[in-house]
Symmetry: C2
Subunit: 345 residues, 2 copies
DNA sequence: CTGTTAGCGCATTCAA
DNA sequence: TTGAATGCGCTAACAG
């Protein structure tokens, strides 16, 4: 049985208050009592109970991170690690700890109910998803990353549409007309069956805009097709396998997550296809290793670290009763060798 | 002001207990009261306070992960993400949440004191480091990953010495005699200045064993030198720059973290050196992207995911009052193209 | 099936 | 400088 503040107080012949001061505000008691209390505490291995303290102070000193999928899925994507780094950076600065909450279907509600946090950051959860209700119910401040802008939501994101446009523009201007687009599906947190997040919707809109401008369009009768995939190497490989064996093989593959591109690379190697000779591959995110792949991956640079950083700062503001607005960060199209001209058919 | 269980009880004309049952054990009350209580709760936006509940139940449902460095440093290394995935996998299964604790110098003690967790997993913290005292003091179960085996410690690791031997053996058998070894320094958590973790010590021992066997040794007068580096791409690049400009340029570079090797690759490219033509590069960890680098990286495969998984299972056992023993997982030397014969001088 | 009564361990006003 | 009293919000015997 661990010692409590009462035990220490009794043994030291003082009141609980004094013991509390010894730990939280030593300047308010005499040197002697302080020393005596600490000695006894040391001896009994007493440490103030963090939970009780939290209850009394109404502050956990912890923020939650709600992921869009199970953690073992999500961290397959190096981009997520970047976001986490940004979050952690601010947490360190603010003396906050970070609690990772996984959205297990079924118990998600419980998870959120029971999360002892002062605020929450969500990844890829857009307006309209019912989880957000829970936050409101608990009166918990939260900010979304890549959730999309909407009334009453504080969000950190990028201009999905704009950067998608420049990405597609690059492909088209390189002569590509047969394009496979690997969209990201994100079903875990949606309640009504399959569902593209706002992020994906926006990217698609951006693509369509450019295509339209060039008299092209997505569709089964055209060479431009959309595939629903996961943000993993494996999903990239498998979808590539499917796509590359088509009679009308695409000359370019667009991965909406860089990590997928690695899988595409692998499949290309297996099939003896050269990049970008036979097929161009472009990604999205610009993960740290993108420049070191073979060939270096053309992609849209996305500031993962800064996203996490910004989101956390906003959240801290909200916890401190401020009411910040949403933030949109810059992106940049990074052309590298994996993008080349479309081969003549 | 958020509603409390008392408010609900009063409004529903029942006792607190009944309200508590409504949320935790509905089968113990009648349908009607349940419905009435839930209605009122809904209306007032009542949700049981997780902290108060935790205090009463003496279980947080949360485990802590104590990193060896600031989070923004640590997650630069993809290997860590693998470990995290393993931890998260079990957490999901067990309905636990995961709290990431950063070892900020100075406030680490506070951090650990205040962490509301049922147990802790540490990364790279070996026996003798004073942090472990704190855990004992709090009576907090903990398991170390890569901490090294010692009495009274539950650890998950690999046979550092054995796999280091096979790695060095591979180099020597390829004719390498001029070797730069990029050891990992891990100073953040050590109190007595620079300090190699037990892990590093063991790796070094393994290297020395093989070298000795071949009549070689580490030292400033020999071609085999040790450098103290960080497990980051940048550190790899910078150290490579230093090393590759030596009059007696090494024919092989050993990175004790794969991510460093990427930096070494970059520097080699800048200097126009071919891998493995001019210099061989071997890593450690076998990060997921290791096979996709250019050239594919020879390395020691280390089961990051399974380490995290095993550690978490052990911790859960300990939380459940069992007393499990340490675990040693297998490694495997993975030869890929970055390792070649030493060039003739 | 429901209510009563105690804690859980600490922080904090207010007096002394 | 110290202590007594009170509250934080909830759970858990134990009765009824």
């Amino acid at each position: 049985m661990r010692a409590t503040i009462n035990d220490i107080a009794r043994m030291a012949g003082v009141s609980k208050t004094t013991v509390s001061f010894a730990f939280n505000n030593p300047s308010k008691i005499s040197q002697e009592t302080f020393a005596r209390i600490m000695d006894i505490a040391q001896e009994l291995g007493y440490v103030p109970d963090p939970v009780a303290r939290t209850l009394a102070m109404k502050q956990t000193g912890c923020i939650g991170l709600l992921l869009p999928q199970a953690i073992q899925e999500v961290f397959l994507n190096p981009y997520i690690a970047e976001v986490l780094r940004g979050i952690g950076y601010v947490c360190d600065h603010e003396g906050l700890s970070l609690s990772v909450l996984s959205p297990l279907k079924g118990v998600l509600t419980q998870t959120i109910r029971n999360a002892a946090v002062d605020g929450i950051i969500t990844l890829g959860i857009g307006p309209g998803m019912s989880v957000l209700e829970l936050f409101h119910q608990r009166g918990l401040p939260f900010v979304t990353i890549d959730g999309g802008v909407a009334d009453g939501l504080v969000n950190v994101g990028i201009d999905e549409q704009a950067c998608s446009e420049s990405l597609m523009e690059a492909l088209v201007s390189h002569g590509h007309r047969d394009i496979a687009i690997f969209m990201l599906k994100n079903v875990t947190l949606s309640e009504n069956g399959d569902h593209f997040s706002l992020t994906n919707d926006n990217r698609l809109t951006g693509f369509n805009k450019v295509l339209q401008r060039h008299g092209l369009s997505i569709g089964s009768h055209t060479g431009i097709q959309v595939y629903h995939t996961e943000a993993t190497l494996r999903s990239g490989r498998e979808t590539a396998r499917e796509v590359l064996s088509l009679k009308r093989r695409p000359t370019a593959i667009v991965c909406l997550a860089d990590i997928q591109a690695v899988g595409v690379y692998e499949e290309c190697r297996i099939q003896g296809l050269s990049i970008p000779g036979d097929v161009s591959v472009v990604g999205f995110d610009d993960i740290p290793l993108a420049p070191f792949l073979n060939p270096p991956l053309a992609t849209v640079h996305q500031p993962g670290f800064r996203k996490g950083e910004a989101a956390t700062r906003l959240l801290v503001d909200m916890i401190n009763k401020k009411t910040p607005g949403s933030v949109t960060l810059d992106t940049e199209l990074v052309i590298r060798e994996s993008l080349g001209p479309a081969p003549r058919s």
